[in-house]
Each structure stands twice: as C-alpha cells, then as structure tokens.
C-alpha cells in the first residue's frame, strides 16, 4: 500500500498503471446512486458515480484498479474493500489495487465516518455494485466472444471459461483480453447480482490487514512522512483560550532565529514558516503575540448545571403524551441524572499535513476523513476555484473522528499560500489538545414509572448536549479552529422550542433508550416495548469546539440509558440481563445480549452482589447492550471488574463482547475493532476528561489528559461474532466502545452497591462515593 509521494510521482504512477480510464464528466444529474445526499453518501462530482469506469479499471494484464471514497484510517477498510472487489470480480486479492480518497480520481463519498463505510460500500450500491456490474459485463462480453450462453460460463482468477471445461477445453478468455485498458462505458447496474455469502471465497475470511508488514517494519508512508521537493516547515501559534482574537504580532521577535521565511497572519490565524522544522518550532515558541481574551469559561465544577441553564435547540423524538399521567399513577418512580465530560480524540500522532499552494492551483496531502469536503474548505480559504484544489488522502495517526486532521490541512494551505512553497505543518501536542473538536459533554436526566409487578410502564428522558462547530462539510470551514481564526463563521446552536415529532423515529444518535417502542404516528421503530415514552433532546452552545468522537452522543446517551436500566433492575431486585430482555422486542439486540451473557457464563441474580465485603478488593459484573444508531449494528458487553476499596481504583479483568454487524466481511478485522473499541472505551470510562480553568484548557498533554498506557494490566477481551448473512452490512467500528462505560459502571455498582453517574470513574471519584456510602 504505497501512497503517493508527490504530484510528480502520482502522475507517473497513473501513467504506468496502464488503465487510467476514470471518467471526468460534468456533474451528473441526480440519479439512483446519488439520491441520498447525506454527508457519508456518494455525491455527484466530476467523477460520475453512475459510471462503472469511475469505480473500476482493468488493465491488459488483468490487474484491477478500484477507486473508493472510503479510506483506511487504521480501521481496516483498505483490506476489506480489496477483499470486496476481489470477491465480486473473482480475482485473487493481489490482483486488486485500491486507490483511496483523491479528489482527482475517486468518487466523492463524503466522509469516511459514522460507521457508514460498510453500509455504503458493502451492500448493493457504490463500490460493491460497481464490482458486481463489472463481473456481469465481463461475462456478457465473454459470452459474445466465446459464442456461449452466459449461464454456461464461470469465472475463476479473472478468466471466464465454460462451466464444463472437460468438453469445451478451448473456451476461455481472460478479463485482460476482454477489456484490458479500455473503458466499460456503461452505468452501474442496480440489478447486477452480488455474489451470495455462500459463494464467498475471499470476503468473510480473516484476511490479515494488508498494511501489517510495512507498519511493523517502519516502511509504511504516513502523511507525516510525505516529502515534496522544495518543502519547508510550518508551525502554528494558537490563541491561549478558545475564543481569543488576535491583537498584535511582533514580527521582530523571531528575526534572530535562522531560517525563518515568514510570519504569516491572516485575521486571527498566526503561523510561522522556516526552512527546517526545528527552526519553525523555535520561532512559534518565541513569537510574541498579544491576544484579546474571550469571555471567561464557565467553571468546570458546575458545568453540568451550566449546560442545563443555557438556551437550547430542542427536538422531541417521541412523545406518547401519557408519560406524566403514568408517572403519577406509578407504584414507584425512579429518577436519576447522568453527566458525561468533554473528551479528546487524542490521536497518538499530533496531526500533520503538507500543502503546495501556487498562484493557480493547490495540492494538499491530508489525513482528512473527508477529501472532497476539505477540497471545498481549502478552496474557500485560499480563494482558488474548487477544481484547482487537489486533495490527496495520506493516512495519519488514528483519528477516531474529527481530530485535528482537517484543521491542520487548512493550516498547511494558509501557510503555503503565503510563502508560495510547499509547507509541511506539524502540530504540537498542545496544539492538538487545545484546538481539536472535542467529544460533546452531556447531561441526561431520566424518570421511569414502575408498576406493582416491577415492570417499566413509562420512560421520560431529557438530555442536553454541548455543541459548537463540527465537521466543516462542504461549506462551513469555520467549524474547525483554523477556519474560524481565518474569518469563517462556525455553526452555532440556534435556540428553538421543540415541535411534536411528526416523522418516523430515526435514532441516529441513540438519544432514545433501546427499551422504548419509539412510536410516532402509530409507526414504532424502537427496539423495546415501552409505549409510554417521551424523549426530548436539547442542544446548547459549547464554550469549546465539538465534533464527532467515536460513537458521538451514542456513547454518552447509552452510558446514561444502560446504567439507569441497571438501577431500575436493581430497585426491583431482578437480574439485569433478564430485566433487559423483559423490555426488548428487537430480535437482533436480544440475540447479542443472550450471546454475551452465555459466553460470559452470566450468573443470573440481582445486583449488587450480596456477599461482597466492605474492605479489601471486591469484584462485580455488569452488562450493557445497544442497537447502534437504532439499526446500524447491535452489541452487548459483559464487564467483570475489581474495585480496591481502599484506593478506589477500578481494575477491569474480563470483557465479553457480542456483536452483530450483518454479514462479516473480515472476522479478524472485526475482532480487532471490537477489542480496541472495548479497551479504548475502558480508557474513556476510567480516565479521560478535558479540564479547564477560567480562560484555558488545562489538559494539554499526556500528563494532564490521562490515556491508559500499554503498561496496564490488560483485561481479557473475548469476542462473540454473530454472522448475519441475510441482513445488510452495518457499521462495526463504534458498537463496542459505546458500551464500555455503561458495563463498567454497572459492574462497579454490582461490586460496591455504589452508583457512579459521572464519567470518568477515577479513583478519587469512586473513593468519594464509597466514603459517602460509609457516612450514610
């Protein structure tokens, strides 16, 4: 997997690949492939997604080049998409070369995010459908050439031959002979038949990640390794607080530093460019900049109250209008409020990008998840026409959502435009931590009515999430810090009261608990049985930039729902798994819950665990489950933990995770996502929190933002993979992480009888709660 090093080598590569047959048509009319204009889906661009040639090319030697708008961020999409193309075309894996996310040549598939890469490219549209179309077209060509009916032909290793080779030995023709180097000149056929899972020979197999040898031997090219002839180095100087504006820059303050080429100022954006990286780093450090501070930040201690007092933009997701009445009539009412902090993407590599902005064109080597939207953003920032901006994806450090990849691409473009030379920008760790778009902080308040049998009869849920900026998309470069500093407006929350829900429930952010029926106008799209239901979501303005962080809002909401469900089960003294099953109706979530409980050898009993002592170390188990985004993957997690009562330290020992993401493309890749997801979720549950004082973010490095290191006692992670060949492929990268905080929180309750309603579960927080218990 060699990525392009420079404009020159990219052109050379394309020349020598022998099959540059991508169509460059005008923007196509809205057609079947481009109806859904969501941010993850396929958009018309100069690479027409309706045309087969936009997705696939076959060279004279039979090698296949496939073009995708979904890239490998470390989650395994390169390998899985290569498997997909090889499978549908019936060629060996090593004959397929995948080109990922390049605005010059790949279809615009928006953003590689949102657990949408599998749904978008592995079902019956886009890349999968293009490959199926190509296979059928090649068989039709072979049928004409061999003068045999298509149904008497078969394909193996890119050669079409008679099904009955024994009687017709000469009847064979290769893909290279049929199409080699030529256009297909057909549209993607929505009716082309995908190979059934029972026929799969490459998909569904644990193909090892194709980048592994290069990664392990230090030869893989990350964006940090891109070198362009004439390239110089840039650093940025960020404001000390999120809303400060620039007052003055003392250009003379760095004139003694050798190699400095320019101090670049654009409205409130400040950066330096120097010949060498070390010179740029020193100049950024020494440059005297005066900032006009923004308003004081709300005190962190009372932030959960602060959020709830802000004007909000409200959305009512479901409202059966009988909730108050049911709460009044209930045998018992439970009420609890949960809080989730801001957290960072915290990519291990501070973000980096390279830009070469000339008077009439620009090339950007970027780790962005969104090459086409970034092309739009850089066009706006530089004033260059869209078609003159070329954005090439080169993998960066794992991003887990909107880290600083987009903003550093803007930084590089602004600095390069100022000096008219290629500029590589490396953010510092502090830049990364203070200027990324954090995962949102949330407050979730819930009430339930319980009848005399201990069943839930009504559920009321009201949640607040802090929001500011976000993905820049195609038209809002101000949504990340560089765009805003350069004068573009970010998206802000515009307060608005809720109107009654009118359309069928879509639970994309998991704001609605899984146990609700989710009924709107008689149509019930929830995963549960509770029909007296009211769910109100309130977006409020955030003092910090926010954006999607792996399982955005889904994790925060699920933490609150699944812990609250556990509280309810405990209050009626029922086993937490059995109690969940009692209120679920969707078979797929029921199946993962049962599978996880079975694999974990779950002992049915109510929480907390009765025999646990009040001293020493106690153990407990907890469970959580989710219908991710309502219907984009299903998972259940059992956590087994220990709590040291003297220190308050929580030590997870074992996780059992069951996952259903439809038909499994690559079981090894899926396991890797599940294992990493659970453990990253554990770190977020136990350790991670953005902190601040009156004016500044104070979590600015790995000493002040706590990411669990490799040297922890790593708990056992056991994965149960439910293969569902008859369903569509769903996302799989965000299901596991969604559940960790809830399952661990429930296990802490099981072990100690103490309910922690605020993440992270630091030793101090656990200890304080235990002390409170003792005092009571």
């Amino acid at each position: 997997m060699k990525s392009v090093k420079s404009e020159l080598s990219r052109r050379d590569f394309l020349k020598t690949s022998g099959a540059l047959v991508v169509s460059f048509s005008a923007v196509s009319m809205i057609g079947p492939l481009s109806v859904a204009q969501g941010p993850f889906d396929t958009h018309p661009s100069h690479v027409d997604p309706e045309k087969l040639d936009s997705w696939l090319a076959i060279a004279a030697d039979g090698s296949v080049t496939a073009y995708t708008g979904k890239c490998d961020l470390g989650q395994g999409m390169y390998t899985a998409q290569t498997q997909l193309v090889a499978e549908e075309l019936c060629v060996p894996l090593d004959r397929v070369k995948l080109i990922q996310c390049d605005t010059a040549i790949t279809p615009d598939q928006g953003t590689t995010s949102g657990s949408q890469s599998s749904p978008t490219n592995f079902n019956t549209r886009n890349l999968a459908q293009a490959a199926a179309t190509a296979r059928e077209a090649l068989i039709a060509m072979a049928s004409a050439k061999l003068a045999m009916p298509a149904d008497q032909l078969r394909v193996e290793d890119g050669v079409v031959s008679a099904s009955d080779v024994g009687t017709k030995p000469g009847k064979r023709v290769s893909y290279g002979e049929l199409i080699g180097g030529k256009h297909f000149d057909i549209t993607v056929n929505a009716n082309a038949k995908r190979r059934s899972t029972s026929e799969w020979r490459i998909l569904g197999k644990p193909v090892p990640s194709m980048d592994r040898v290069a990664l392990m031997t230090g030869t893989f090219e990350f964006v940090h390794n891109v070198h362009v002839p004439g390239m110089v180095h840039g650093r940025v100087v960020r404001p000390p607080d999120p809303t400060a504006t620039l007052a003055h820059v003392d250009h003379d303050s760095v004139k003694e530093i050798p190699g400095v080429i320019e101090v670049v100022v654009r409205k409130s954006f400040v950066g330096v460019v120097a010949e060498k990286q070390w010179q740029a780093a020193q100049a950024a450090e020494k440059l005297k900049v005066t900032w006009k501070p923004g308003p004081k930040l709300p005190p962190q201690k009372v932030f959960s109250d602060y959020i709830r007092r802000q004007p909000s933009r409200d959305t009512m997701l479901v409202n059966s209008k009988d909730v108050d009445e049911k709460l009044k009539a209930a045998a018992k009412v439970l009420h609890a409020t949960y809080f989730y902090p801001y957290q960072a993407h915290g990519s291990i590599g501070s973000s980096c990008a390279v830009a070469d902005v000339q008077a009439d064109h620009a090339t950007i080597w970027s780790p962005t998840q969104s090459v086409y939207p970034t092309q739009h953003g850089i066009s706006a920032l530089t004033g260059l026409p869209l078609e003159k901006v070329h954005v090439i994806f080169v993998r960066g450090s794992g991003c887990y959502g909107l880290n600083a990849a987009d903003t550093v691409s803007y930084d590089a473009a602004l600095l390069s435009q100022a000096v008219r030379r290629p500029v590589r920008v490396q953010l510092t760790r502090k830049d990364e931590f203070t200027s990324e778009n954090y995962g949102s902080s949330c407050v979730i308040e819930q009430r339930v009515a319980i009848d005399t049998n201990g069943a839930i009869t009504a559920w009321d849920c009201e949640s607040w999430s802090a929001s500011f900026g976000g993905r820049p998309g195609y038209d809002t470069p101000g949504n990340v810090i560089t765009g805003r500093l350069a004068g573009f407006e970010p998206e802000t929350v515009k307060p608005r009261p809720a109107s009654e829900p009118s359309e069928e429930l879509s639970n994309g952010s998991n704001i609605v608990p899984s146990y609700l029926a989710g009924c709107v106008n008689g149509k019930c799209a929830g995963a549960g049985s509770i029909r007296s239901e009211r769910v109100l979501s309130r977006a409020v303005s955030s003092p910090f930039f926010t954006g999607p962080l792996r399982s955005p809002l889904r994790l925060q909401n699920t933490f609150a729902h699944e812990c609250f469900m556990d509280e309810i089960a405990a209050s009626v003294k029922v086993d937490p798994v059995a109690y969940r099953l009692q209120h679920l109706t969707e078979k797929r979530i029921i199946d993962v819950l049962k599978a996880a409980a079975k694999a974990a050898d779950w002992q049915a009993r109510p929480s907390p665990r009765p025999q646990n002592s009040r001293t020493g170390t106690v153990s407990g188990r907890g469970v959580a489950c989710v219908a991710y985004e309502g219907d984009n993957g299903y998972a259940a997690l059992v956590a087994e933990i220990e709590v040291n009562l003297a220190s308050g330290i929580v030590q997870p020992r074992r996780f059992v995770i069951a996952n259903d993401s439809g038909p499994i493309s690559n079981p090894d890749g899926l396991r890797n996502q599940m294992e990493g997801g659970v453990l990253q979720g554990m770190s977020r549950a136990l350790a991670e929190e953005i902190t601040w004082d009156e004016h500044h973010v104070t979590s600015v490095d790995w000493a002040s933002y706590n990411n669990l290191p490799l040297g922890i006692e790593v708990p056992v992670v056991e994965c149960v993979l439910l293969d569902r060949p008859s369903f569509e492929a769903t996302g799989a990268g965000e299901t596991a992480i969604t559940l960790a905080a809830a399952a661990i929180g429930n296990a802490v309750f099981d072990a100690t009888g103490v309910r922690i309603r605020q993440a992270p579960f630091t030793a101090e927080r656990i200890k304080a709660a235990l002390n409170e218990r003792t005092a009571a």
């Binding site: 961020l73 470390g74 989650q75 395994g76 090892p208 990640s209 980048d211 592994r212 040898v213 290069a214 990664l215 392990m216 031997t217 230090g218 030869t219 893989f220 090219e221 990350f222 940090h224 390794n225 180095h233 060498k276 990286q277 070390w278 780093a281 915290g346 990519s347 291990i348 590599g349 501070s350 980096c352 993998r395 960066g396 450090s397 794992g398 490396q426 510092t428 760790r429 090894d668 890797n672 996502q673 294992e675 990493g676 997801g677 659970v678 453990l679 990253q680 554990m682 770190s683 490095d701 790995w702 000493a703 990411n707 669990l708 290191p709 490799l710 040297g711 922890i712 790593v714 056992v716």
Partner: protein, 154 residues
Amino acid sequence: MAAISLKINGRVHTVEADPQTPLLYVLSDELRLRGPKFGCGLAQCGACGILLQGKVTRSCVTPVSAVKDQEIITLEGLGTPEQPHALQQAFIDEGAAQCGFCLSGVILTAKALLDEAPKASDEQIRDSFSNVLCRCFAHTRMMRAIKRYQAGLQ
C-alpha cells in the same frame, strides 16, 4: 550549524544541523526515515522511539549532538519487509496494530527490555510500557505478540 556524524542502522551519515535539533527531526526530515514519528515532542508517548546503544530512547527530546557516533537503530533498521526481525514477525503474525503510528515505541521498547531480560516477568513488561501509548488500544494483540516473541527466546 555543525557537521554531525551519525551511525544509523549500520550506516554512517553526516548531517549539517544545529546541534540542539531534536534527533527525531534529523531522522525524519533529513534522512527520510519513516520508523520514528512525532507523537508528542515531550517524551510522553514513545512514538519517536529508537534504540541508542541498545537502549530505547525518545528521539523527540534528544539533541542530535548528544548521539554522535553512537549506534542508532530505528524500526526500519531492526528488520526489513523481506526479512523482518523475529519480534516484528511476531507482531505481523498477531496482526498487532490498527493505525500503527505508535509501533516504534512499542516494538523497540519490547526489544530493549527482552534483550536485557529475556525472562522478564509480566510485571517487568508492564513497567517498561508504563509510558508507552497506543491510542487504538491494540493492547491485547501487542502483549500477545511480545509474549510470542519472548517464548521463542527461551
């Protein structure tokens, strides 16, 4: 600026650099090595790890002048794609990565530890990784790879 002689992956290089330049910048910008990477610049994560005279060292805070004529090994110097080192092979066999950005710190920390203490206990292994970070949390596979390699040493 000064001419500084460096011994990297068995070859001698002479570079012109400000003696205070962090070694990492020389390795990645001047010598175009891809193994060591900028993670934090603060010696907190390990992504810039190299072996210096056999000891794992954070090149992001090591001035280039401090290492002249000493033996430096980077991740790409440990083995090659054609002939990976046995430790790299263990990571390949276990598929022990996701994004892979942290691997210099992870693999070279294990190499330095197990060179010195081939029978290192689990606790010793954990201690040596107490400030090595993998943000994708490929922890399970990484520890399995290290144990696999360690088993082969016995």
